[in-house]
Amino acid sequence: MNRRALLLRAAAFGLLPDLAGCNFDDPEHPDLADRFLHAMSTWNDRVQAALFDPNTLAPTFRPDQITRPPRFNAFYPASQAPVVDEATYRLALGGQIQDKTPWSLAQLRALPQKSQITRFICVEGWRVIGQWSGVRLGLFLKHIGADLRCRYVSFRCADGYYTSIDMPSALHPQTILALDFLGAPLTPPFGAPVRLRIPTKLGFKNPKSIVQLAVTNIYPGGYWADQGYNWFSGS
């Protein structure tokens, strides 16, 4: 991917990602190893998309298996987690969606809620088990008239984080826009007021404090994927 495409993509989200953190896949100076690793990562995206079975469910667990206390993780300390005003909060919608009217929390809570006790696996290797509930993303996308033939669903967060997932994973029954965590509304460190919970992908594909959702055919990348982590990162 060239720098222009990257900047266009960032501009589309009103963001300019910091490229200084790139150790490889630097669009300006890709060496042979960068090209090789990038090609293999793209190949791994394809393999994972082929391996993804929309009917295979992530394992679920008993309430007594829930990890307590829950583990906080972000690219900043918990005290710096963004605090979103829930009264004025509106989920902005963009891209290939028929009705782009922003959604309030009350509207999201009025949709059918699904609960799950699932395993959250971090790309670092550790795993925790938690209970989340919220709106099935597939149901929400149908509700707002999203073009389900599009390839990507992208997310922008209150803390500047951004990421995207493939449409088949977005439509998976266990992929939810979570509003509650451990039986209570989400708190700021754990992604208040709305986060994505997608147990068929690694932890960093579960964006927190989502402020914008878009449906697109233009590869949106992600905060970590743009630095060299595998984009699909399925489990």
């Binding site: 150790n23 490889f24 090789f36 690793l37 293999m40 990562s41 190949w43 791994n44 994972q48 391996l51 993804f52 079975d53 295979t56 469910l57 992530a58 394992p59 395993r119 696996i121 971090c122 790309v123 670092e124 290797g125 550790w126 795993r127 147990p199 068929t200 970590w224 630095q227 060299g228 982590y229 595998n230 399925g234 489990s235």
Partner: protein, 198 residues
Amino acid sequence: MPPKQAKPIHPLPLRLMHWFNAVAIIIMIGSGWQIYNASPLFGFVFPYTIGQWLGGAIAWHLAAMWFLVANGLLYVIWSLTSGHYRKFLPLRPGDVGRDLIAALTLRLRHEKGVYNAVQKLLYLGVLAAGVVIVLSGLAIWKPVQLWPLCDLFGGYVVARYVHFFAMSAIALFIAVHLILVALVPKVLPPMITGGRLP
């Protein structure tokens, strides 16, 4: 007319696969150590790694795995079709005991092109570790899509330990392998040139 060529100790396909495997396994272990360091299973981290940071190490690990597995499958197919696998057989416990004592007392003779019982055991052992490390690696990579495999290893957490111990077994094999080459350096050139069977 050139004289009829003698049979090499190590045929060309075997030499190519050996060195290809050597590069792949070094990348896999080096990048695997960096991935381990991000969330250590034990009270230590590895001082030497490949990939510089977690993202780089994962990129190397998930790239090299295809070459390691492809090369491993080629080796299995080649071994079965060329008859190479017969060099591992028969493997009798009595022979292992005898050759192990001889090896430890430095009295084991090296016969060109023939595996002694300890070699047979070590090579079959590292091949078994190779199968375990690939399967446990797949279980860690895809614990949802390949859940039956993950369950076979006792779940995601246990699979990480299995993967670690399989790596340890392979690393130990490489250490013994290199020590033996250092002790009997004449075995190294044939792995490059092929050598000639007497």
